[in-house]
């Protein structure tokens, strides 16, 4: 019940296209849904995040769509660029014992072809 399932495992998109990565969760106690971006040789870094009381959040070319009833959320990257090539992790956060626990999806390796 603490799992977050992410798909696809890998994704190839042409420059200028839309990249879409999907995640699903079971535990309705999760109360924050961040996305992390990881470049080779680097640690993951927070990209964008959403709370379940909001259905969509947009920051530049990155948009999170959230469907609370379906327990699904997705990351859309508009006008994808070669510099967006990275591994993307969705996550779900729950507050436990006064601190947060973050559960990650398995990751999606995104490649943007020039």
């Amino acid at each position: 019940q603490q799992q977050v399932k992410q798909s696809p495992q890998s994704l190839i998109v042409q420059k200028g296209g839309i990249s879409i990565i999907n995640c699903a969760y079971e535990n309705t106690a999760f109360d924050y849904f961040p996305w992390y971006q990881q470049f080779p040789g680097k640690g993951p870094a927070l990209l964008i995040a959403i709370r379940p009381d909001v259905s969509e959040k947009k920051e530049g070319r990155f948009t999170i769509s959230f469907n609370k009833s379906a327990k699904q959320f997705s990351l859309h990257i508009m006008d994808s660029q070669p510099g967006d090539s990275a591994t993307y992790f969705c996550a779900a956060s729950i507050s436990l014992q006064g601190a947060q626990k973050l559960v990650f999806g398995q990751g999606t390796r995104l490649t943007i072809n020039p």
Partner: protein, 115 residues
Amino acid sequence: EAGVTQSPTHLIKTRGQQATLRCSPISGHTSVYWYQQALGLGLQFLLWYDEGEERNRGNFPPRFSGRQFPNYSSELNVNALELEDSALYLCASSLETGRSTGELFFGEGSRLTVL
């Protein structure tokens, strides 16, 4: 402001040996998390320390252990190393407010290779 720092960057050990990895969180952060990232796999939660205490651990055997020091830095120890322990070990820190923010600040990791 310095980010999360980890050492060593790379570590090569042989089976049966012990490995010690170190992490310094961002100044002011009291929580430290350890994750294992094996090749082709996602981020597997290992350990979580807050205010010097182990708050939670993932589904890993007891030979994975650690501690958090009074200055909030942390150490991860892996005993009796096995080949499958080869992975990137990531440390992250956060500022705990009692409310989920989803934001962990990760270091660049320590790559452990077990031969």
